[in-house]
Amino acid sequence: MIKTDILIIGAGPTGLFAVFEAGLLQLKCHLIDALPQPGGQCAEIYPKKPIYDIPGYPEVLAGELVDNLMEQIKPFQPGFTLGERAETIEKQEDGSFVVTTNKGTRHQAPVVAIAGGLGSFEPRKPLLDNLSKFEDNGVAYMIKEPEMYRNKKVLIAGGGDSALDWSIFLAEVADEVTLVHRRNEFRGALDSVEKVQQLKNQGKINLITPGEVVALHGRDQLEKVTVKNTDTSEETDVQVDNFIPLFGLSPKLGPIANWGLEIEKNAIKVDNTLDYQTNIPGIYAIGDVNTYPGKLKLILCGFHEATLMCQSAYQRIHPDKKYVMKYTTVGGVTGFDGSKKEAPKAVVKAID
């Protein structure tokens, strides 16, 4: 069981900044995120896009903002459970919460802050009739164990970087690799596109473009797929052991929607007059995942919400302690790692 003071669900900019504000109050944080890296949308969807409305930064790349936040919170030694989705929440007798992920990792904290943004990013699945029947029986949406595909006939669908990169990788591992994409053009790093071209010329990748997988066949295990040429509508059957559609990720509010929280417009209702607490005391929602009158889904608003949430969490965790907010210019930043940053002391010295 992982124990912490504030359990943050979602490691996007709002969740990361909450670690800093909590750290100033000597509260420890642990973050859960379904993505394998911190940063949320900033890291996953638009790391190379400039953001112009972060106060004090005339321009910052989304990926840089994440790097900076990670640097800023480092002294507070946050814990991370990455690549796992928060699945269930159970209130304990002592008032704390236990949150369990889809992989069974358990976390306990007196305060839970949902900073889930648009939700957890799930693979986009193609619209095929018997798709679910073949899931784990030949169909997979991400490649976890490349060795699984040794000596197999693999068909990858998609036109982005992950489809290109995995086709290249598996060309050396699998018996046969077929890459299917709806267009002749691929959208990816130039050297990946060139490498696929090269492997195609060498006969190591079968390329079917413009094409689309339209049907799956097999008794229990996937045996073949039907690929339709989207120009001529001609259909061809391809014998395969594995079909891996790589159509990117789309966000889903997911299991959080079933936690008994008040939901409005696909977002969690919170008390914006005070502390961004949900209808369940001890569970807060901050950043893009929440809603209240006048809500704006902006990173800068998420930072503010995270700050007020931490103050309220402190009161909740230490009801008897007196506390007043202290400026970092006055108090400096004392990390849990023993590091200390503070303003240099002025020198008091007479000038002759």
Partner: protein
Amino acid sequence: MSMSDIKITITDREGVAHEVDAPTDMNMNLMEVVRSYELAPEGTIGICGGMAMCASCQCYVQSDHQLPEKSDDEDAMLSEAFFVKDNSRLGCQIHITEDLDGLKVELAPAED
């Protein structure tokens, strides 16, 4: 209706047509017009915020207006979207201008 508004007919995902006034002077795109009139539930449209990085604002253009060419980003996104037709566009990439007066579009189904 102000001088700088145009009329656009938007058929929502339930098949109901709405004729709405869209301002040409607010730097808006079609996805934002749909959201401002709440013609699709929040969280089901404009998910990426308008960066052509999701297809939640996909629509079918039903009138024969001359629309700006698709950018590479829009083209690439539509090549991976579902329910795509020849007249599919991403609403977030259609800037509201006076030329679009009388535009008719239908929202594509949500992906779920």
